[in-house]
Amino acid sequence: MEILLVILVGILYAAGIYMMFRRSMVKLLIGLLLLGNGTNILIFLMGDIAKGKPPIIAPNTSVFTDVYADPVPQALILTAIVISFALQAFAIILLKRVYQMTGSDDLDSLNTNDGDI
């Protein structure tokens, strides 16, 4: 299971960065989304993926004696998802506005004010 997630993280990062290098604004956005999801899964991987091992200390001991599923990364992911959701929502609206203004999906057409170098 872990190795599968590792490969998935790699694919998401690679695909995200590849998409960001494209000229189309929509692809840029998809790249950002993929990259964000890749990061979330990476954090998820960092808390040991242990099936059926909740982080509860047995009544007769005072510390963890076995591998357990770390709850902190899951809390982090939850926060990260909410934040990236907001950022991505903002980015989508921004791209829509830019598309309405310039009538083009091409990122290279965004340099109208750079005539003055």
Binding site: M20, T39, M46, P73, L87, L110, N113, D116
Partner: protein, 506 residues
């Protein structure tokens, strides 16, 4: 020492922002309330800073969780100083915004977002928890996204796309680095992380994590290969917004770099060399980038990039003295760069243009104001004995001592180019006679009432006065930066301060 008071500056900004939302579209109320909030924020930050300077680091453990389990807020001398500077710049820019920002922007939430931005900055300076730092960074960037797009001009939107994309990318890299360091150490508390990262056996992956942090904060701070977004977006929003961005947002990246690389990842030779090379390249790209620019705001944008190089150089030399130079330069730069963009706003108000070819004759029309602006411009370029000179002296002498002559050469060359460009701005904008094709009626400043004029010039004067104080009493500020650098280099004290509560309770 544990104290709840260290959160006061954040809370003042938060309450102000929330109150402002209740007065949606009430322009006068927004202006007054924002100024009152900023004044309160300034007073609380000043009290906090004096307290910290005199009695040392204070901490706060949220929910009284023992460190390293809860979120920790740590206010050491560096944090306290930066919080104070944030409040000062916030007060000045807020005051300038009351007249400088158009009524339409104020109606659609300029001031609430402005206060959320300041809150995010102060939170980021205070926090002692890595993930919490990420959250504050997000508060800052989402507010800055709104500010940079507010108004929705075509030019603004084009700049915003680059700004938004690079910032989201930087956050993603930051989050990746946090994930990996959590995987390595199982903690997010910076003090705890500092202890545990030293025990990790796989030094290679620690190095990679450190560099991931460097890339993430480097994008925010606009260092050499990652600076492209800055000159192509900072000239698009109104000057007041650019002032807060130029003065504080890039410095947030520098703050995070200083914190990371003095507390957690102690740099080795490889990292130090990397810092020095990046510092030199940043100075040169900034210096040569501004030479052929026609718009003063573009020149000023490249000036930010150029001077980020000095800050990285001081960090890269990594001695107590050089770090003190960086801190001193940070203090000077936050004040001066904010002022620079406010001045660009004033010039735009007076002449309705920022293009040097269309500007001219300002000295003839506004002699006193011009002298004030000249003082600020000379402070930026570091003409002795003004405020930019002293920290540079520190960094250069330390570079000489370490025998790094390339760095000395680059600092001197880029300072010289800065001076040349400042002289050019002065000659073109102030001394040159008004160009023939430029109609005089573009002056939107003269018809304003005296009260409004004063409100616009007062912030510039206030910040210039602080620059003047730095220039007149460099010893005081040098001592302060020495103290901060000393604290930073002895990170054991920081760690001990965070964990002290636990020891008492045991």
């Amino acid at each position: 020492m544990t104290s709840n008071y260290i959160l006061a500056p954040i809370l003042v900004q938060l309450v102000t922002a929330i109150l402002l939302i209740f007065f949606w579209q009430r322009v006068t109320v927004q202006r007054v309330l924002s100024t009152v909030g900023n004044t309160f924020s300034f007073i609380t930050s000043l009290i906090l800073a004096i307290d910290i300077w005199n009695f040392g680091t204070q901490t706060l453990h949220a929910g009284n969780w023992q460190p390293p389990f809860g979120i920790t807020f740590v206010c050491d001398a560096l944090s306290a100083t930066l919080i104070l500077l944030t409040s000062i710049v916030g007060l000045a820019v807020g005051l300038f915004s009351t007249i400088g920002i158009s009524i339409n922007r104020i109606k659609y939430g300029y001031f609430p977002i402005f206060h959320f931005l300041l809150m995010g900055l102060q939170g980021a300076f205070l926090t002692g928890d890595l993930f919490n730092l990420y959250v504050w960074f997000e508060v800052v960037i989402i507010s800055s996204f709104v500010l940079i797009t507010l108004g929705g001009k075509k030019m603004q939107m084009e700049g915003a796309i680059k700004y938004v994309t690079l910032n989201i990318l930087a956050s993603t890299i930051f989050l990746t680095a946090i994930g990996i360091s959590y995987g390595l150490t199982g903690t997010l508390n910076m003090a705890d992380l500092a202890q545990k990262i030293a025990l990790v056996e796989n030094r290679g992956i620690v190095q990679v994590t450190a560099l991931l942090f460097f890339v993430a904060f480097g994008i925010k701070a606009a260092v050499f290969p990652l600076y492209f977004w800055l000159p192509s977006s900072y000239h698009t929003p109104p000057s007041a917004i650019a002032a807060i961005f130029g003065g504080l947002l890039t410095k947030l990246g520098i703050y995070a770099l200083i914190r990371m690389f003095t507390l957690i990842f102690i740099p080795d030779d490889y990292t130090i060399n990397l810092f020095i090379i990046i510092a030199i390249m940043t100075m040169f790209t900034g210096a040569f980038g501004m030479m052929n620019k026609k718009s003063i705001r573009k020149v000023f944008s490249y000036l930010i990039v150029c001077h980020i190089g000095y800050l990285i150089a001081g960090l890269g030399l990594y001695t107590e003295k050089s770090l003190s130079g960086t801190i001193f330069y940070l203090i000077h730069d936050i004040i001066a760069k904010s002022n620079l963009f406010l001045i660009a706003g004033l010039i735009y108000k007076i002449r309705s243009s920022t293009d040097m070819r269309r500007l001219g004759g300002l000295y003839k029309d506004y002699p006193l104001l011009s002298i004030l602006i000249l003082f600020v411009l000379l402070s930026i370029s570091g003409v002795p004995p003004l405020s930019g000179f002293w920290p540079k002296l520190n960094i250069i002498s330390e570079a000489l001592r370490s025998g790094n002559y390339t760095l000395v050469f680059s600092i001197i060359i880029s300072s010289f180019v800065t001076l040349v460009m400042i002289a050019k701005v002065w000659a073109e904008v102030f001394w040159k006679p008004t160009p023939k094709d430029h109609p005089e009626q573009d002056d939107t400043f003269a018809p304003l009432s005296t009260f409004k004029k004063v409100t616009m010039i007062l912030p510039v004067f206030l910040l210039a006065f602080i620059s003047f104080m730095i220039a007149m009493r460099p010893g005081t500020f040098m001592n302060l930066s020495d103290k901060i650098a000393n604290e930073l280099m002895h990170s054991d004290d920081y760690i001990e301060n965070v964990f002290r509560v636990k020891n008492i309770q045991n």
